[in-house]
């Protein structure tokens, strides 16, 4: 704070001047950041169509080339272009992540609202299941589920989807329980509105934004876990250009000094995850200013 002296305090205007409109104000900056991240992610998603799959084919004359203008990410031991492989891998990871996170979110909405609205033993069962899932290391649970489904795309999807619903379920359950006890909801019930009407007019507008932000904030986790599973060999098949596969292959060629095989694909994955995180937190900030009051 500062004590700005403004002449004779006796005649100081009782109104402070409005602050000048700034172009880069918080609102605009937040919206633009979110839009930028969204655009980046769409680009990643569509990049395989733009880059084609030509770079994926073996070209023995161009083996193990370090990064250059023609091959910004270098080439691997079969002469495949690492940029093209990475973008294909990111896009694949993105699809898997999107699908798994969406499945998780659907589970969370169903289970969360069932637990909160039915209560009783249904609630006990669902919260118990959440506790159960949280009492195992996440990765061990992922491995167990992927193992029981025999790995592959089906195993990864199921493992990732089945292990990410817990947090959002808790959130939705708490939110609905809180809303249920709110006065205006009870008033609406007294006014003779049916449960469906109340759900549509009061619960949905409150819970939906939370679900959307929660879903977006799930993506980084689902994507990283898919990559982790594929990396240790329990995930996508070794023939797909998934990021986890690319990195585990890079492991085998590390000692030869081909550092670009591991550095760039991982960096690209990091940037994609960060873009999702930024998108989610910015949207969250728009809906709930307290989270970004600085």
């Amino acid at each position: 704070m500062s004590l700005v002296h403004s002449g004779d305090p006796q005649v100081a205007s009782p109104l402070l001047p409005e602050s000048k409109p700034v172009f880069w104000n918080r609102r605009r900056r937040t919206i633009l950041t979110a839009l930028g991240c969204g655009l980046l992610l769409v680009l990643v998603l569509l990049s395989p169509y733009g880059l084609g799959s030509e770079g994926l084919s073996t070209r023995l004359s161009e083996r193990n080339l370090p990064p250059s203008w023609i091959h910004p990410f270098g080439t691997d031991w079969l002469g495949r272009d690492m940029l093209v492989r990475t973008m294909h891998g990111l896009s694949l990871s993105l699809w898997v992540g999107l699908a798994a996170a969406s499945l998780s979110a659907v589970m969370a909405v169903v289970l969360g609202s069932l637990a909160a609205s039915l209560g009783g033993w249904v609630d006990v069962l669902i919260t118990g299941a959440v506790d159960l899932f949280l009492s195992l290391p996440h990765l061990v649970l992922l491995i167990l589920i992927a193992f029981s489904l025999g790995g592959g795309m089906r195993g990864v999807l199921a493992a990732v989807a089945l292990t990410h619903w817990t947090g959002l379920t808790r959130l939705i359950r708490a939110e609905i329980l809180q809303l249920k006890s709110a006065e205006y909801i009870q008033l609406a019930a007294k006014l003779g509105h049916g449960p469906l009407w109340i759900a549509r007019h009061h619960f949905l507008p409150h819970v939906l934004p939370q679900v959307i932000v929660g879903l977006i904030l799930l993506f980084p986790h689902t994507i990283l876990h898919e990559a982790g599973l594929s990396f240790i060999g329990m995930g996508l098949s070794p023939h797909t250009p998934a990021i986890g596969i690319i990195l585990s292959e890079a492991m085998r060629h590390l000692s030869t000094g081909y550092w670009w095989l591991g550095v760039f694909p991982g960096l690209a994955l990091l940037l994609m995850v960060k873009a999702f995180d930024t998108l989610g937190t910015n949207l969250h900030g728009l809906m709930d200013p307290r989270t970004s009051q600085e």
Binding site: S135, P137, G266
Partner: protein, 330 residues
Amino acid sequence: MRGLSPRLVNFALRSALKLLALLLAVAVVSFVLIEHSPIDPVSAYIGADMLLIGPEQRQLIAERWGLDQPATTRFWRWLWQLAQGNLGTSSIFNQPVAQVIASRFATSFNLMFLAWVLSGLFGVGLGILAGAKPGSWPDRVIRLYAYTLASSPTFWVGLLLLILFSVQLGWAPFCCSQPPGIPTEAVTVWQRLHHLILPALTLSLIGVASIALHTRQKLVEILESDFVLFARAQGESTLGIIWHHGLRNIALPALTLQLASLSELFGGSVLAEQVFAYPGLGQATVQAALRSDVPLLLGIVLFSTVFVVVGNTLADLAYQVVDPRVRIGK
């Protein structure tokens, strides 16, 4: 010390019961999952020699293992064995599962403990540095670091460290927990530490992120609290406020968070051990899954549950013992 208060005895009993219930639930879920897996236990056990044995021999093995019994019967038998402490035999290591887990965990424990302590100390330190003045440049740098690491795949961070320190600089060994070709008894503490440093660094770099961000958040909350406002009104500086009130109020949540993060620590160690070929429990988990060693996988699932639940219980206990509002109140 006031000895074992009835409240603590009560707490211990409730925790033990909860752990048992959770273990039972985990056992049921894992059994159902494994039961539905497409893996044939007989062929998984025999492996490549499968082509050499005929259907009759197969049948014999299946009968000997009780595989012809209905699932519920097999479940109760398995549970009965578990209750007696028999986790079965690992097909990869040809040793009782309990023995494999014990020796592997001993190796992993060094790694996890070192990473746990490092990430706790650095995390709290960075969190305080960032939270002392929200919005300042140290805060921005630390938050950028923490958020970036929170989005980084553990195995990639390990990979980078490996490229930098082992391949390019040659400062750290490539793999394993000790130099090859030396009997375990002859390995010095320094050699062990030398092999431990990169995997532990990988694990702690990732762990730092969440503890730093939580400590920062907590400190920011504390600095906005009424009692800090009062300390300011008494003319105390920010440094003095952190010294007198900040540390006192941060310590417990930080300890609790670290104890509750054993789940991530275990998961992280699986990936870190995979990258550095560190022969701990994490690597055994991956091998058990890849090579269909069902008894070992189930054993690790149950063991890791105990590991995580013990961490959570200790976190609860810390509140019971340290926080005066819980200790004296109620």
